[in-house]
Amino acid sequence: MRLFRIVSLHLQNIFHHRLRSFVWFLIPLMNNLTVILFWSGAIKNTSQNAAWTMSTITTYYFLLTIINSMLNSYIQEDVAEFDIKQGDLVRYLTRPFPYYWIKFIEEIPYRILQGSYGIILIIIFSFFYKNYIIISNKPIIILLSIPIMILALFLSFTLKMNLGLSAFWFKDSRSFFELVTIIIIIFSGGVMPLFLLPQGLQTISSILPFAYTAYFPILSLQGNLSYIQLIRVIGIQCLWLAVFIAINRIMWKYGIKQFTSFGQ
């Protein structure tokens, strides 16, 4: 109950600036709508691929917008800039919660609000263009997609937290974040679905963790993965999450010793 109250307080705070949050939602939406428009002209001149039609393209980029809004965390700037560099970390250290979980609780309302925008958008769009949105209607697929999405949220959050914690050692990590963001966009299917990429990039992206934060959750919702593949995705997500949590523990343990703050 106490946790619920904390989340609802943060939600009120974020809802107060809902227009700002809406602009953040519009940014990836605009990007993805433009790519859909590009494909509408390019698909007839593209080498044949049975799985890549206008309806799968539309579904893919719409789901990408929603998944990114709902599951993709942007906590790294907050952790690095405000908490570590400006010293706000002090007020978290005195609270009876681990830092990781406080930040997670703070992040949840953002994901709820942005995810709601996405869900509203897809409902409106599928009302007018029903044939263009294809989502699996098999209950087991949907049931298995839920843990994939929850793990994707944790994976993205922990990865960004670790990036943010790097500020304990680096004075200016903004460009490092931007370079990592570029890598994430490419290898998480942000440009186009990974099966359309060159073979070498497909192999690399299946090894790296980024595809498990966006691409595979989308495939699972579209019903493009078999049961075995779904379970395999969950397994790999758990593995990467364990690695990221271990890195997080180590970074926190040694990083906090680097942190100094002063005041009265």
């Binding site: 605009m30 002209g41 200016d172």
Partner: protein, 324 residues
């Protein structure tokens, strides 16, 4: 903006090297850069010492004054960047990263595509590379200033800029130059020549001259659009992420204008100018012909420059500052 001019004021609008002026003038109306003091210019230059200047001379004096001021600002920005060397190097890496990303982006999108909207794959790649160059120019000159504008309006610091004896739009648009973006411009030019060499593409001399000329119009148009949209911050100071939104709309310029023309007329009205700014110079380059879009680009860029200027002056009349 009119400011009270003290007696014994010599040529207003000139650089004053003697710091004694600080004693004569109110310090708030002096603008200091690198220990040089810039005096107020109220547009009545020459009347104080009894000399009558013609309009042309006034114009050149004004031009010379702003040019020398801009030179100082360039130097100031450069020194500001190299003071924090690690930050400068980091910014160069990030800028080059985003520049390279635009190239990778279009290469991946067109990996299995031969053409789109009448543009061949090679032409689409040249469009993306030109986008890197133009965005480098835009970000070098203006976009940091617009981010700064959103910050200073939000914090109520615009008052200090309005008090300075320099045109306010000049000051908010040209105060900082983002030097790492010069590297992006160099990267774009290098990529363009390497790509042309690899693909054996050749363009006419007319195409190259037209490309360089229309880049000027394209950048002017982009600046005017940024200025126009950022002026809304005077009424909505909390909407600071409008800058990020503008970065996104700029991203539309990576695509052919024929694609954007397919959109709903209302959306088209907002987005087409962004697309024309990059696609038109590239069309001149790759096709070597001056087609209909050129007229649109010239008219829209000149028109938007005037509109953004008038809108800025109008908005300033509604600026209430942080304290009111």
């Amino acid at each position: 903006m009119m400011l009270i001019k003290p007696e014994n004021h010599r040529h207003s609008g000139e650089e004053c090297n003697d710091d004694s002026r600080i004693k004569i003038l109110d310090p708030s109306i002096l603008f200091r850069i690198n220990n040089r003091v810039w005096c107020q210019n109220d547009g009545k230059q020459g009347q104080d010492n009894g000399q009558k200047h013609n309009l042309l001379k006034q114009f050149f004096n004004q031009y010379r004054r702003y040019f020398s001021l801009y030179k100082e600002l360039l130097r100031f920005s450069f020194q500001n960047f190299i003071v924090y060397r690690a930050h400068f190097i980091n910014s160069v890496f990030a800028t080059v990263g985003w520049g390279a990303f635009q190239f990778i982006w279009i290469e991946l999108l067109t990996f299995r595509t031969r053409s789109a909207f009448g543009w061949s794959k090679n032409e689409l790649v040249v469009l993306a590379i030109s986008y890197i160059i133009m965005m480098g120019i835009l970000h070098f000159f203006f976009s940091h200033n617009m981010s700064r504008l959103s910050r200073i309006i939000n914090k109520g610091e615009l008052d200090f800029l309005l008090l300075k004896p320099v045109d306010s739009q000049f000051l908010v648009s040209f105060y900082i130059q983002n030097y790492p973006n010069l590297v992006r411009v160099i990267l774009g030019i290098t990529l363009l020549f390497v790509y042309l060499h690899i693909t054996h593409l050749t363009f006419t001399l007319i195409g190259w001259i037209g490309f360089i000329c229309f880049i000027f119009f394209g950048v002017t148009l982009l600046y005017s659009l940024w200025m126009f949209y950022c002026t809304f911050l005077i009424w909505f100071p909390r909407l600071t992420n409008i800058i990020d939104f503008l970065f996104t709309i700029d991203g539309m310029a990576r695509y052919p204008s024929e694609m954007i023309k397919k959109l709903n007329p209302i959306i088209l009205f907002f987005i087409l100018p962004f697309t024309l700014s990059v696609a038109t110079p590239v069309k001149v380059l790759v096709r070597g012909s001056f087609d209909g879009d050129i007229i649109y680009l010239i008219i829209i860029s000149v028109g938007m420059s005037v509109v953004s200027r008038l809108f800025w002056l109008y908005a300033l009349r509604h600026y209430t500052s942080a304290s009111s």
